[in-house]
Structure formats: C-alpha cells, structure tokens
C-alpha cells in the first residue's frame, strides 16, 4: 500500500484544512461567491469540509447589477442545493447612496466599484473573514498573496507588511475593525480547478459552455451586446457567434472566446491547448501592467 495522494487530493485536503481553520479562528466568516467556477469549487469544498453539517458561513455575492442572467440563475439554484444563506451586497445601492461613483467614458466598468460595496457589506454584516476563490497562478501580484491575508481597518492590503506564513500554521489574530481575506484554493491552477470539476462532477453555469450569442469586438475582446450596458457603437458590427466564457465577471467587460466546447471534457481539452491565460480576456487587467496590484492595495478581492 502506497500512502501517497494525487496532487488534486492533496490540494483538496489543503483547502479543506484552510476552511476549517477559518471556521475555528473567526467569529463571523463569509464565503465570497462570484458565480465563477473558482467560487463554485469553493462552495463544493466547503460542503465537504463540514459535512454532514452545513458549512458555518453564508455566501456573499457582490452584485454589480451587470451580471449575466445565467450567473444569477445558477447562484439561486446553488444556494438552494446547499441549504446555504445568501447575502447580497448591491453596487447599485452604493451608487444611489453616493458611496460609489459610476465610471464615465467609453470603457466605464463597475469592476472597481465592487470594492466599495464589498467593504460596505463586510462592515455592515460585521464579517471578520471573507474567503475568496483567488488563485496565485492568476496574476503576478497574486503570486505573493498569503492564504490568510491581513487587511487593515480600511480593508487595504499592504504588500510590504504581510505576515510570514509557515508550515500549516495560520495566524488569524487581529485587532477590532481589522479583517482577513482568506484564499483556500491559492495553490490551485486553472487546470486543477477544471480537473476537479470533472472529477467531482460539479455543475456549472451555462455561460461556461459553448452557445450562440450576439457579440461585438471591443478592444480586441468579444463582448456580449446588451440593450443598456453594452450599446453598439457606430463603428461596431454585432454578429452572432459560437462562444463561451472562461470567467464569469461583469457582462460589459468579460470577453468571450470562440469555442465549440460544450462539455467539461471539451473545455479541458481547449484549456490544455490554448496559449492565452484566462485573465487575458478580461479588459480590466490590461489597463496597466500592474493593474491588479493597484486594485489589491485598494481592497479588491
């Protein structure tokens, strides 16, 4: 008998361990749920970690008001399936309250505004730990992120003042008003997430699979048209294409890719042979070479 785990089982064990530490070390944790595949995998890991009990934290969805309909349908289904509590933080509300200001101009997006609503929601509900599905392989600035990421009372991340993280000993001690972001799937890659979805037979929103959609080409990305959020400009020609999405972000800034992949297996094949990183199709990351770092300092996921 060989006592070795496959790498996916080892990653699963690590993530479950981290989630249980969160439940043990914090008063009021939450799981940030975006509707994307990474946060979906997190929900399934949470179920395993605490089964047969329900996981002891709510799902928090920061709703930009610009979501794909498929994301919302899936979210509501999953909440029911898990018997989970759902808390929604609304960017729309932050805008009408005046705490968030809608971006102006051609490439306006609500992505940056999520930060405001997220921090407001954490404060209002008095959450002291928010688990997110970010992975270190996604982006350079994230390669240095800790599992337990300390945020000051303004929700800010200070790259120079992170706690050393040794062995599996996570330190969630904090002062009143401070909180933590925790990233249980830090060590997973995009391929690991897909393989896990395949191995565990986890259902996904329809957006991830190949479908017909009316899109325009904007800044080199295929963007879904929408009567209010993505109005077709004079120089743009909408056309119906066979596409799927690699991430489930905000509709106006999430680029689709042309694809016939309509099953998880076909997607894995596509991911394995593609040569562009998944964030490459998100317009917000291309603004500057260090854009993720800038947003993280301000309290982004």
């Amino acid at each position: 008998m060989s006592y070795s785990l496959t790498h996916l089982r080892e990653l699963e064990a690590e993530s479950i361990y981290v989630m249980r530490e969160v439940a043990a070390q914090f008063q009021k944790p939450a799981l940030l749920f975006s509707g994307g595949k990474d946060s979906i995998v997190m929900v399934y890991l949470a179920r395993k970690a605490f089964w047969p009990a329900k996981f002891p934290f709510p799902l928090v969805h920061i709703d930009t008001g610009h979501n794909f309909e498929e994301t919302m349908v899936y979210r509501d289904w999953l909440v029911k399936e898990m018997g989970a509590n759902l808390i929604v933080g609304s960017v729309e509300e932050s805008i009408s309250k005046g705490t968030a200001v809608e971006e102006k101009g051609l490439n306006a997006s609500r992505n940056a505004l999520q930060t405001v609503t997220l921090l407001e929601t954490l404060e209002k509900e008095k959450f002291d730990a928010a688990m997110g599905g970010a992975r270190r392989d996604e982006e350079k600035a994230r390669a240095k992120e800790r599992f337990f990421s300390h945020r000051d009372e303004f929700g800010q991340w200070d790259p120079k003042n992170q706690r050393p993280e040794l062995w599996n000993l996570f330190n969630g001690k904090k002062h009143i008003g401070e909180h933590f972001r925790v990233f249980p799937i830090s060590n997973w890659t995009e391929m690991d997430v897909w393989q896990y979805i395949y191995q565990e037979n986890i259902p996904l929103p329809k957006l991830y699979f190949s479908h017909q959609r009316e899109v325009i080409v904007r800044d080199g990305a295929l963007i879904s048209t929408h009567p209010e959020w993505v109005k077709v400009r004079p120089n743009e020609t909408p056309k119906t294409m066979t596409v799927r999405f690699r991430t489930c972000g905000d509709l106006p800034i999430t680029g689709a890719v042309e694809s016939d992949a309509d099953t998880v297996e076909k997607i894995i094949y596509e991911v394995a042979t593609t040569r562009v990183t998944e964030r490459g199709s998100r317009a917000d990351d291309k603004r500057s070479e260090t854009s993720m770092e800038d947003r993280k300092k301000a309290g982004y996921f």
């Binding site: 006592y3 070795s4 785990l5 496959t6 790498h7 089982r9 080892e10 990653l11 064990a13 690590e14 361990y17 439940a23 043990a24 179920r47 395993k48 970690a49 605490f50 089964w51 047969p52 009990a53 329900k54 270190r136 350079k140 600035a141 390669a143 240095k144 790259p159 992170q162 706690r163 050393p164 993280e165 040794l166 062995w167 599996n168 000993l169 330190n171 001690k173 904090k174 002062h175 830090s186 060590n187 890659t189 391929m191 690991d192 393989q195 395949y198 297996e265 894995i268 094949y269 991911v271 394995a272 042979t273 593609t274 040569r275 562009v276 990183t277 490459g280 070479e289 260090t290 770092e293």
Partner: protein, 432 residues
Amino acid sequence: MEHLVQDGKFDHHGYLNMELLRFTTAGSVDDGKSTLIGRLLYDSKSIFQDQLEAIEKSSKSRGEDYVNLALLTDGLRSEREQGITIDVAYRYFSTPKRKFIIADTPGHIQYTRNMVTGASTANLAIILVDARHGVVEQTYRHSFIASLLQIPHIVICINKMDLVDYSKEKYDEVVEQFRHFASKLDVQDVRFIPISALLGDNVVDRSTKMPWYEGPTLMYTLETVHIGSDHNLIDTRFPVQHVIRPMSNEYHDYRGYAGRVAGGVLKPGDEVMHLPSGITTKIAAIKTIDGDLAEAYPPQSVTITLEDDVDISRGDMIVRENNVPKIGQDIDIMVCWMDDKNPLRLNGKYSIRHTTRDARCVIKEILYKVDVNTLHRIQDVDSLALNEIGRVKIRTTVPLFYDEYRRNRNTGSLIIIDEGSNTTVGAAMIIE
C-alpha cells in the same frame, strides 16, 4: 499542458494521477535564480502566449537584446523598480509526471525570514552556486536553512557553467568545497548538477557541452526524486481542528472530529487515546461525503468518529496509547526571528500556535544564536533581532503535545505571535 494532449484527447488519467512536489529556490540577485525558474517554466511549456508577449515587450523596453526569462517571476512593482525579489512568490507548473509548486525566495541575508517561510513547506530545495565564485557565504546560509527546516532533498545547481567553459575541474572543485562544509549539517540527500540556466544546459534538456557529467538533468531529478517517505507514517498524530455537530434530525447524536492527519495511519477499529484526558477509545469510522474511508494518512483532511463519548475540543490530539508524543511545558526550540520592529527578548511573553493549539509562552533562556554564514555559535546573548536564528528555552502556559521537529515537521513546529501587533514574529522548530 500540451504534453497532456495526445491524438486530440486530453489525458485525464495522467493528470488525475500526478504527484505534487513543493520546492524552494533560494538565491540572490546575481546568481541566475529568476532565469532558472523562467527556464523551467519556458522549457516545460508552462508559459502562455500572452505572458511571453508581455515579457518580450518588457525586455525590449528595458533595452535588453534577449528575452529576459527572469521577468516572468518578478512580481510586485516595488520589486521591479529595485530589480530584486523581496517576498516569497509561488509559481506553478507541471510535467506529465508531476505538478510543481515553487516557493521562490530572495537569498540575501536580510531575507532569511522569507527563505525560512519558503522552506517550511518544501520537499526539496534548489541551491544555486555561481560556478565562477564557488561556494560563498550565502551558499552556507541557504544550506543551513534547508537543513534547519529539514527539507528532505537538496539539489545544488552549479550555474553559469557556460562562463567557465563547462569545466569539469571547476565543477569538481565546487562539489568538494560543498561536501566539506555539508559534513557539519544535518542533511540526508544532497545532489549536484552542473547547469547553465541562461542557455538551458541540463535544466530540462541534457547538455551537449558537458559529456563528462553523467547524472540526470534538473527536471528529471524534480520529476523522479522519491517523496513518498517525506511524511511520518509511524507516529499516529491527529490534532483536532474542529468539532462537527450537524444538529439535524438525520444526524442527531453525530459528533465528528475534523482535522488533518499530522502523522501515522488511522484505521477504523484502532485503539486510540485522547490527549489531554488520557481516555482510550476506538475509531468508529473515518467519514467523508463520498463514503467512509478504510484509512487516513498525512496530509489528508478527514473527519473521524469515536466509539465512546469523550469530551473533545479543538487543540486536543488523538494518538495511539503505545506511542504518545512528548507532553510538556518546558520546550527547547530553534527560532528564526521575523519581526522587524522588536527583537525576541529574554523573559518576553508571546502567544504561540502549535498544531491546532493556542497557548502563551515566556522566553526562559537564550542559549546561543547562530552566525548563519559560518555556523558559529554566539553565546551570552539576551535577544534575537530580525533574521537571527537561535536556540531558546520556552515555558508554555499549557502543556503541548509535540515531537522533535526532525521526527515530524507537523507536530514539531510552532509559530510565535506578538501579543501587541498580532503578527507572526517567530518560526520555531522543536529540538526537545
């Protein structure tokens, strides 16, 4: 990832059966560490098109006439400005045999704490030596840290062989120098590989320039080094992390003890003992949502149920009656100090975390500190500053259930936490 695609099909079986190897690379600005990592990522086809384009663009704008693979691993802007790596960065790649996690750490003495952090979870350490300069002060430092943290496998890469005409004599000289020094260290498995990270010799592809070297390439070593024995499978240790009580009709009296196996193999029916109570009972089942398990071993996260009702909470430990850990409050440790604001002080009081147990401790005695460049012991000290390593006696407020770090990295390690700032200020390895 392309390597997993054959005849238009993805090799699921292959991917689902890979092992995970965590390794650390320590090095300083000039020894080619970032280039080596870039080379591993590039030659194993782990770089995406847009990443490659981005570094080609950056290289050009910096006026460099070749694609600077080191840029792949330079992260935060402040580092990019200074041209150095200041924190632990994690990188990922895979080959058909294994998935790899690299803890990329800076090698300068002021970053000892980062090296220690990266080393704490590693199965293997790559230590780079510049063939032109041979074994230098930082080689001693890196090797000492690797041995202190008990990284099971050490690979000494003698880099920049292209700059010494691929000379066997130069290589032999470095190996000899290192062997002489390593006799003072507690290391089990050391290997040597002559490479050129810049040109790719013996990194992924075998060098044609060094026919005298008959050993494996670095990549082959990473893919095949035996890691199955890196965990302790002898001493049963199950620190209770969380108690699971569903409070539902279906599982009315269910009490599960969740945790990560820190040593040994657990099986249903095993006679076990609860610490601190000393009460013995049997493992009833190892539960998962996918069904009960026949056994559990490190580093699995499982939930166990017991045959008898015992009052168990987080921080307790399940062990075998005939193989108990040490239980005590007076503990001898090696500490790496990580706080840039305050030194570790004699008689200082701190919080500690050991397995899933929280406690406080007082520093009773500082026996000596180690000069990490020469391994000399310096006595008569009453504090340890940032990046200093020393042997210390502590007394804890409650008994800990521990093993020597050499025997078990999970039950032999603890962190020290400052009670004012709440930050992690020390990493400790239990000696006895």
